[in-house]
Amino acid sequence: MTELLIRGADLNGRGPSDLLIRNGRFVDPSDAGRDVDRLDADGLIALPGLVDLHTHLREPGREDAETVESGTLAAARGGFTAVLAMANTTPVTDTAEAAAHIAALGARDGYAEVVPVGAVSKGLDGIELAELGLMARCSAGVRVFSDDGHCVSDARLMRRALEYVRAFDGVIAQHAQDPQLAGEGACCHEGEISGKLGLSGWPPAAEAGIVARDVQIAELTRSRLHVCHVSCAETVDVIRWAKQRSINVTAEVAPHHLTLTTSEVLGYDPTYKVNPPLRPHEHVEVLREGLADGTIDAVATDHAPHARHDKEHAFADAAFGMLGLETALAVVIETMINSGLLSWSELANRMSIMPAHIARLSGQGQPLAVGEPANVVLVDPSARTVVDRDASASLSRNNPWHGRELPDPVVATIWAGRVTYQKS
């Protein structure tokens, strides 16, 4: 069995060492045999493989936009060794069979661990609970449940879901969007720009209001709540308050909400149409601070591939969402590391350790230490590039970073000892 020796990487930002991988695990580097592949990592930083709590892989149903294979290849290129595949496929992942199918696709085609997210409600209809327990008990071992794309707006259903998943340490990941305050047409942060452009407004109150309700229900039920793609300052305040009360709540922020602002929408380019919408600068600042102080636990991409024709409608008619897997680390380095808001070990916490912990993934987010699964990403902290959407492994091209200069950090990604990506 070939071994892989990674030489001289700065472990998690704490000083250079060697890493030896054998049979998918880290072993003592002084123990290297003769048949060893070497990877020179001088000047590189080794981080635990990144874990994305929020990926849309589109398979089954929209294999023209993304497949498990193309999506996880994009994940590997972005430094991820595990992705949680959202349930809003066709069919919806709302049964044990559907969840097992996703996991099997991942095992067959994946360049990263594919962990299915189960729907909270049957068909994402927000009315009846899906078979949460059977999904938890099946081979896929689902722990994260979400109707993402839709809010579980019925307070009673939300309460039952939170209560029910406590039996198997599950978590409800809420897409917080009050459908009365921000209906289906809502497509632009409500404010000066929405008023000027004549786009239907999506006010922060529609997000923070649901989160304020849900943390109360989480306290009532003593259950685990996770808040998807926090987009506004008001929500950060609510989560900070809930954490001070020791309510069991975690939260994620998407890379685009850490950088891009509402003004991107001024030209009506649907590339920048995303749900929740891009917010003004002052929200971006608060999200960065929230991620830095741990109020927001994790970065999650909300990677949302769309076929080109689904983005070539009028802004109000076009699909929501943007790509994120390949650029997430670059954006976080740019906004959080290069600005001094996060250290490398804190970045590893927000992009690997915490997401793995929230999703209860035992083989991910582990220390780069002997005996642990060999999930690692090697990072060049100084390389930069101009993002080219056509250079993507994704089948889709709705890349908001196209043409922008960003860090180009990922040199190699290793998942369970297997090199899933190596920069040429």
């Binding site: 929405s194 008023g195 004549g198 786009l199 407004g201 030209g267 009506y268 070539e312 009028a314």
Partner: protein
């Protein structure tokens, strides 16, 4: 001028030029043979994703009187439901070799997107709840004529006050008029219940008032906006009756208007709701003049876009 997408595309000189040319074009309407050869051999397509008999026929007549070949394409029933993207529809039409595309769309911004995909001139004939620049031009044309009854060579609107009353949030007429009337020097006052005032209005170059009766005695022009059917059931105000009492141009309010002030309405009117029959048909109502001005102004705009370029 390459496209006319927004009233903000026009500065005061360009606006005045278009309005002056529209005055000349209006003379054509008085001739027995209403035809100029200016755009002979040019093709104008009215691409309407949303019904609008009034605007479409106005553009059609304008193009025809300038001798352009005018084709109407109705793309109603959203392209999304037909499975065709906006880009495909626009490229398909443009591929036929058109010189100008007049676009009406139910979604804000569609003409902006179209203008990035094709070489033809794009004219915004109303996009969603965003803009309707030729409506603002014809309103300005009508208002200027009204002012010229007392000052014959009136060019700017400096010192004049225009009140726009009604559903500002969902009105493309209001957005374009705010931009254009302000460019011409008028002080615009927007009057509506707070539920029908758009977010971010504090940054607009206007005054905002929720009390029509405070504004009426100060306005030289009172422009009433149509209340759309879907707003009546949308909870924006309790009942049509309450709206009329608060914001309708009723007969008693006619009396309260500033002497010499005039009334506009972009049509179609809900008589008895936002405007009383007395107001609509009053001697100081400019409403029919607005319709007539539509053709002259659109002739002028088509000429500005297509006349110079070969």
């Amino acid at each position: 001028m390459r496209h006319l997408l927004s009233a903000a595309d026009l500065d005061r000189n360009q606006t005045t030029e278009i309005l002056d040319l529209a005055e000349e074009m209006s003379l054509v309407q008085e001739r027995p043979v209403k035809k100029l050869p200016a755009l002979r051999g040019r093709t104008v397509v009215n691409l309407f994703f949303e019904d609008s008999t009034r605007t479409r026929s106005s553009f059609e007549i304008a193009g025809k009187w300038l001798s352009a070949d005018v084709i109407n394409i109705s793309a109603k029933g959203s392209s999304v439901s037909k499975g065709e993207s906006l880009r495909d529809t626009v490229l398909t039409v443009a591929a036929m070799g058109v010189d100008a595309l007049v676009i009406r769309h139910h979604a804000s911004g569609a003409p902006w997107q179209a203008s990035r995909w094709i070489d033809a001139h794009v004219l915004n004939a109303g996009d969603g709840t965003h803009e309707h620049p030729t409506q603002a031009l014809l309103d300005a044309f009508t208002i200027r004529r009204h002012f010229r009854r007392t000052v014959p060579d009136q060019v700017s609107f400096d010192g004049k006050t225009v009140a726009i009353v009604g559903d500002i949030t969902h009105s493309r007429v209001a957005r374009s008029n705010v931009l254009l009337l302000t460019t011409l020097g008028a002080q615009v006052i927007l009057v509506a219940p707070p539920t029908l005032l758009p977010s971010g209005i504090e940054s607009w170059p206007v005054l905002v008032c929720t009390d029509l009766d405070q504004v009426l005695p100060r306005a030289d022009i009172v422009m009433m906006l149509r209340v759309q059917q879907e707003r009546m059931s949308g909870g924006y105000f309790p009942t049509p009756r309450e709206y009329t009492i608060g914001y309708g141009l009723t007969r008693p309010r006619l009396e309260a208007m500033k002497p010499g002030a005039a009334i506009c309405h972009p049509g179609p009117m809900n008589r008895g709701l936002e405007i009383s029959a007395d107001a609509a048909d009053a001697a100081n109502s400019l409403i029919l003049g607005q319709v007539a001005a539509g053709v002259s102004v659109r002739m002028s705009v088509l000429y500005e876009l297509l006349g110079g370029s070969e």
